[in-house]
Structures are given as structure tokens and as C-alpha cells.
């Protein structure tokens, strides 16, 4: 968080975290496509030649003036592949909230679980208190035929008490519900902090 009182700006950072190919970049692409141009910046993607996220995707949203303050949100994704652990940790630094994107497909549960536990490990290393840190969970790819039930997904991940949303990011379903929940929980956490 960076607060610029001279300009009345609160700069907040949200990271989309999750296993490889879970749909993190797809979320940002949809947000970019469906947000008025005056409220968003450029969508920056540092990709490999195979079109996979190398370091991060980045999108800034300016929400407009609320009660004399201008909240600005910087949305990042992390690269999902296992071997980019160092990149994921550095992107998490200074984040004010996380959207954890779960791949609902039956064969991806092990990757989801590993991703969740490495995220927790990184957040603890960075000094966050997991009990109070705002994490919103998105069950993505609900439109695919082999998607596990939400009940089954919940059983595999320690997400009790976390806000959860079903989504099919490729079609936009659930993308903004997730984003708004994350933004609201981050703002509520800032309220508690200051």
C-alpha cells in the first residue's frame, strides 16, 4: 500500500495466484476488455515465446473518486509453473490481497494444493498474518465437463471462512464478482490497518 495524501491517492496491490494454466491471465484479460478505458491502464504481459507468463501480467485500475480519495489498484498475476517459485515470491512482496485461482478440473487438484501451500509459505516468509490477510478464492473453469463439485474442491483446500466464487473466466462469468470481493476485502483490511 502506498498512500499519497497530497494527491489523495491510495495505491493498492492485488495478486492473482494459482497453478499453471488455472486462468489467472485470462481473468486480467477479461477485466481489461470490459473496463472503461478511462479507468484502466495498459495490460502489460511479460510472456515466454510459448505465450506463457514469464514474470507477471500487470494492469492498473483507477476507480475514480470515493469520499475524496482516489483508490488505485495494481493487479498482478504470477507465473504458475512450478519452476518459477522465485518469481512468484517477489511478485507477492508488498501485496495487499490475493485472488487464488483454482482450476476446477478433476486432474488438477494436486497442482492446486501445491500452489496453495507455496503461496502460504511465501506470505508467511514475507511477514503476513494469514489469519487476517485478505485472500479471495475463485473456482475457475466451472464450464468444463470434468470440473469437480465445489464441495469437493473445498474439501481439498484449507479455505474455510474465505470468500469463494465460481467462475468461467474465459467467458467472463464470475470474474468481476471475484475482483469486487477482493477489492472490498482489501479496502476493509486497509480500514483496519489505519
Amino acid at each position: 500500500m502506498f498512500i499519497n495524501w497530497a494527491l489523495g491517492e491510495i495505491n493498492l496491490k492485488i495478486v492473482y495466484y494459482g497453478a499453471a494454466l488455472s486462468g489467472k491471465t485470462t481473468n486480467l484479460q477479461f477485466i481489461y476488455a470490459r473496463t472503461p478505458a478511462n479507468l484502466r491502464g495498459r495490460l502489460i504481459s511479460l510472456k515466454t515465446q510459448q505465450d506463457r507468463t514469464l514474470l507477471f501480467d500487470f494492469l492498473q485500475l483507477e476507480i475514480g473518486k470515493v469520499a475524496n480519495l482516489k483508490p488505485k489498484f495494481k493487479l498482478y498475476t504470477v507465473p504458475g509453473q512450478v519452476y518459477y517459485a522465485a518469481s512468484r515470491r517477489l511478485i507477492l512482496q508488498g501485496t495487499d490481497g490475493v485472488v487464488f485461482v483454482v482450476d476446477s478440473q478433476a486432474g488438477r487438484m494436486a497442482e492446486n494444493e501445491e500452489s496453495w501451500y507455496t503461496m502460504e509459505q511465501h506470505l508467511i516468509e514475507l511477514g503476513y498474518d494469514l489469519n487476517t490477510f485478505p485472500i479471495v478464492v475463485q473456482f475457475n473453469k466451472r464450464d468444463l465437463p470434468h470440473a469437480l463439485s465445489v464441495q469437493e474442491l473445498r474439501r481439498h483446500l484449507p479455505i474455510e471462512g474465505r470468500p469463494c466464487f465460481e467462475a468461467a473466466a474465459i467467458k467472463g462469468y464470475g470474474v468481476f464478482d471475484t475482483l469486487k470481493a477482493s477489492m472490498n476485502s482489501v479496502v476493509a483490511a486497509v480500514r483496519r490497518a489505519v
Binding site: L39, K72, Q93
Partner: protein, 159 residues
């Protein structure tokens, strides 16, 4: 490691912006930019260019953090203090400022590298002194319950 937040008063921010502007007028400087390692832009002097400072902050922070990780993987410590990039038409220096901030200085190619190194080092020291004091300033209680409620309603209006 514990988290920290930076709260700059208008006076501190003005002092930093003046410092960056002074830096920009001493040589053929394209831009001077202060950000934090989480990718937030704090202050900038942009010369004649209109820069996308948000993207610049995200990329420069990522660059510096990635460089520090490279050093660590090679058996060093995460203590990179300066990155120098020599491009065809400009030189870019990125220096750490204390533990959590960085200063980026982009100059024309013909500006001596020695001058740039010295300028960025001295500016980093002066900024660190300013920000060190600023971090002690308690924030005004503007993020109140009304703000939280209005914010949620505002989001519903957009999406």
C-alpha cells in the same frame, strides 16, 4: 521480516519531487523516478516525456527484484544496489534506496556513466533521509467506515 507501509506527507513528497527535478536539470536526464519494490510509484520527474509511470514502476521493481534473485541463486546475498543498462540511445540506472525503495535514472547516452552513478547514489541517500522521517508520520484517518461503504457502492456502479 515485517511489513511496512509508506505514508508521505505532502511536504515530504514535494521535497522528493524537487530533488528529482534538480537531478533532471543537471544533465540530459530523460526521467528520474522513485518507486517501491512492490511496484508502487511514489514520485517522478519526467522531463519532456509523458510516461506511463504505473507500468514503469511495476517493471522496474520486477527487474530489480529479479536481479536480486539471480544473485541469490548464484550464491550471493539479495543486496543488489545498482543495475546499469546501456541501451543504444540512453543509459538507465536503477538503484536501491534503503530496503524497500528504488530510484530509476534514465539519461542520454552521452551523459558520463560516472556522473550518473554518483548522482543516483547521492540522490538515493538524500531520499532515504527524507523517507525515513516520512515513515514516522501517522496517516490521517481518512479511510473510515463511510469510505468502505461508499467504495463498495462505487464498484457496483462500474461493473
Amino acid at each position: 521480516m515485517s511489513r511496512s507501509s509508506i505514508v508521505l506527507s505532502p511536504a515530504h513528497l514535494t521535497a522528493i519531487q524537487n530533488l528529482l527535478a534538480q537531478l533532471g536539470q543537471q544533465a540530459d536526464v530523460r526521467c528520474a523516478f522513485l518507486g517501491d519494490l512492490s511496484g508502487q510509484e511514489l514520485a517522478s520527474w519526467e522531463g519532456r516525456a509523458q510516461l506511463d509511470v504505473s507500468s514503469l514502476a511495476a517493471l522496474a521493481a520486477g527487474d530489480l527484484m529479479a536481479t536480486m534473485e539471480i544473485a541469490q541463486l548464484l550464491g550471493g546475498k539479495r543486496t543488489c544496489n545498482l543495475i546499469v543498462q546501456e541501451h543504444d540511445d540512453m543509459t538507465i540506472l536503477v538503484s536501491r534506496v534503503g530496503e524497500g525503495l528504488f530510484l530509476l535514472l534514465a539519461t542520454a547516452k552521452d551523459v558520463p556513466l560516472g556522473w550518473s552513478r554518483l548522482a543516483i547514489k547521492r540522490s538515493a541517500e538524500r531520499i532515504l533521509a527524507l523517507v525515513g522521517k516520512a515513515a514516522m508520520t501517522p496517516p490521517p484517518a481518512a479511510v473510515n467506515d463511510d469510505f468502505v461503504r461508499n467504495f463498495a457502492a462505487h464498484l457496483d456502479n462500474i461493473w
